[in-house]
Subunit: 574 residues, 2 copies
Amino acid sequence: MKILRINTRERTCAIEEMGEYSGLGGRALTSRIIRREVPANAHPLSKENKLVFAPGLLSGTMAANSGRISVGAKSPLTGTIKESNSGGIVSQKLAKLGIGAVILEDKPERDAPFTAIRIHKDGVEFFDAPERGGRDNYAYQDVLNDFFGGKAAVALIGTAGEQCMQAATIQFSDPYGNPARSAGRGGMGAVMGSKRVRCIAVDDADASGIEYADKEAFKAANRRWTEILKNHPVTGQGLAGFGTAILVNIINEAGALPTKNFRTGRFDHAADVSGEKLSETIEKRGGKVHEGCHPGCVMQCSQRYVDEKGEYVTSGFEYETLWAFGPNSLIHDLDLIAAMDRLCDEKGIDTIEMGNTVAIAMEGGLIPWGDGPAAYELLKKIGTADPMGRIIGNGTGYTAAALGVDRVPVVKNQALPAYDPRAVKGVGVTYATNPMGGDHTAGYAVCQNVLKVGGDVDGHKDEGNIELSKNLQIATAAIDSSGMCLFVAFAVLDTPDAMQVMCDLLNARYGGSITPDDVLALGVQVLKDEHSFNADAGFTKHDDQLPRWFREALPPHNVTWDYTDDELQAAKTF
Amino acid sequence: MKILRINTRERTCAIEEMGEYSGLGGRALTSRIIRREVPANAHPLSKENKLVFAPGLLSGTMAANSGRISVGAKSPLTGTIKESNSGGIVSQKLAKLGIGAVILEDKPERDAPFTAIRIHKDGVEFFDAPERGGRDNYAYQDVLNDFFGGKAAVALIGTAGEQCMQAATIQFSDPYGNPARSAGRGGMGAVMGSKRVRCIAVDDADASGIEYADKEAFKAANRRWTEILKNHPVTGQGLAGFGTAILVNIINEAGALPTKNFRTGRFDHAADVSGEKLSETIEKRGGKVHEGCHPGCVMQCSQRYVDEKGEYVTSGFEYETLWAFGPNSLIHDLDLIAAMDRLCDEKGIDTIEMGNTVAIAMEGGLIPWGDGPAAYELLKKIGTADPMGRIIGNGTGYTAAALGVDRVPVVKNQALPAYDPRAVKGVGVTYATNPMGGDHTAGYAVCQNVLKVGGDVDGHKDEGNIELSKNLQIATAAIDSSGMCLFVAFAVLDTPDAMQVMCDLLNARYGGSITPDDVLALGVQVLKDEHSFNADAGFTKHDDQLPRWFREALPPHNVTWDYTDDELQAAKTF
């Protein structure tokens, strides 16, 4: 594997050996590069920041669910180091081209034309990006298809990224030709926008492909790996049945579904936006209930949501998005929520951040609670000349400041996802202490707190949740480095030989002899890189905490949040 | 002296003994109250924040230049503790009523009517504030005069404060009946706005007045004190001659006048906006070159700026304001700059923050460099329904995020004042390390670096400037606690017996036997209160630093900024 360094000001590139980064992939690689090469006190939109795209260690192989990509930088939203993880078809193509990481460096003048980059087996080409001409991402994907020829596999920013909005995503082409997969959190799209790169197209035609140290061993390991994923009730059936939206009813039942800006844990209209309702609606209209976000996925947790006429609206319509535009804002119209999901992909902006932002707009009296059409109109302003779009596009904390709202559900200025931390304390610990700001994927204790997968820890009690979150954060950092979809964790946690099978895959690919302990050690190392960057950027234990109003009791279970700053530090002590 | 606690939700008040706060005044008192009573991680706009108004220890007495007021809270702009210091006529009236501090606590619902508070010798009254009816502060002062009867002495927020803008000021009535004096920095007006208090009127009619332990000794000390101030060339002549605007030519000559968002230290058109030009213009038009901001001022550094028809435009038109709307934005039209100063007082918003914000708007391409009319139109949006006003009103860092600008001259999110820190390193150390964020008054090393008052330390070299800033920060904290105008420091620094005379004043007022060492110890204690609050709020040595781009050389002297984070900590080590 090689490193591809691109100077965005000069539009030049250099191909380097992996060198000191050898043996790393995905999040382990993006975080190590940012830690080593970006000053912790650099402005995230300055030429000193870098944007790194890294396929995981297993990406490009035939291993099931291994096609995720890590995007890393110093985040404009949080000021922390950030790894944002996405599906789509770019990761596997980069890996097949033998590219371990693409690093965007430097930046041109602020009015420089946007660049389109094409990476293929013979090198890298730079173009003035084709005119956007008012087109949002879906229509612009078509323009790029024409520009590059054929179905382009792209990483793309929308108008939100072009304006360097702090909640801007990088969108990735999905297997069906839509720019529907997102490196969603932390404003990676703003970093790309600051470097005036509108898109990177990756073409793996005639690529040399993946080399295996032992291809037969890899195939054997992958057979077992696929079996593990297919045999587990969550990865084999639950996710495939209703997608992640199956959680609406489950989390609501648990009294942990944040409703009206985290005021209660139950939503009266949860049934209207449940996974069951979603599937029923899709089936009735002739959409697709099961789809994968990248080739080789055996879970197929995504879907193709269509309107009443059967026309495609959106896909990758996750529980967190449903929640953000639904219960948290008191909206319960599935079609409207789907339209907002699509709109966010069109603009290139994070749905979790935007859902919380909509709730803040309601909190601040800008639009009425539960008014979906008004929320949609507000989101439409993003990426336009309307200054309100620049407020909304910068996210929850920013919008709260514009409106003088003090009930702001953020950690390190990143909006919290779809699990009330008082009722799912393990994930609350993750929100507070993980290196990325308010994030659930970094240590998804919903497994043990609610789903009772991989253990049973009471989500209402303090006991055990710090240790739980810590261990999950370690495992997650390792999984995010492998290129595996995080959802493999459901099966891995419940299957004794799963970790060893992951090691078998890595060893058959690279010829090493790593063990499960090595994998966990890698996870710890990733977290250490990230926490040390953050410490140098000025973050302390006082930043590893939820807003004070979470100390108020949450109905219906009247649970509160009362960990001290010092207690929470145990989740970061390795 | 007593403490007056006001519950802004219930519209009730309680009068308390000074108790643990006994012996404190001004900044020493506001910072101690915030340190003790406000959780460091409270949201600045939440009910847990408090807003404290405290006259200085000598306020209300006959001592020259002792009528300043301290306003303290956790700052919405910086997240640090904040003391914002103002002239005007409220401080002396509070002191004469025997009130050591007014503390606004709690907050009503966000749509509650605004409150007008009246404090007088018999107690406190609460009213629904008279309708603003679209009126800005000057016209609203008239409404308040009618409402309260006579010339009301008020602390007042404008529309910026009502919208909880992070750069909102609290305006104080000046001796001429205009709301022209500002507790300008750090968004104290937003805290007042969050508590839905529009104004506090203080009426000292029939107040018992100031008690002196030894009135004759006080008079004697004040005679010498007045002599000291009148005899020093800066306080006796310089400030009275041209006001603080005398600095335009001096700082430009020193190559330290930040021009075009801190790109160079010289401005081609400095002469057009100099103090000399300001005085000449005022005199020609029949304005007033000398005015004081409070009764008892012997310096008279303020002025009455009038238009070509001789009509009043603004007063308290400081060097920093002139600079912010002038050289830093490449504007050199005095009338326009004066109009922007007035507009900021009308809206209730900080001129230093707004001048930098205008430069960021130019940096971000929102308006052209040097376009004064466009800048004026932009500022007019503050406090209106236009969302651009909510961007601008939240200040420099916030506006930079809206526009994707990475050249952002802030420390702890507060915009830097009118001295390039590379060429006036002593003040640069103050910007970086004082507890309030980018602020010059907290340790005004311009004295020694440029004016050569109170010593001579080269502003271009690292040597000596950390120690210099530290000592000035200590002295300033003490002066800010006395109620004395900070400008007394010019004379105090050069006059051997001045510190003793200040002690004589304090002892004659309160009957103690404090010494100059005690005064300095008080200054250290104030800083310790403030720094410890900030540490608990999550600030570290990495926050005590200038933005990285100050490491670039500043023309014409090509000086750079190269203190390390660790070196700078010496300025906070007591």
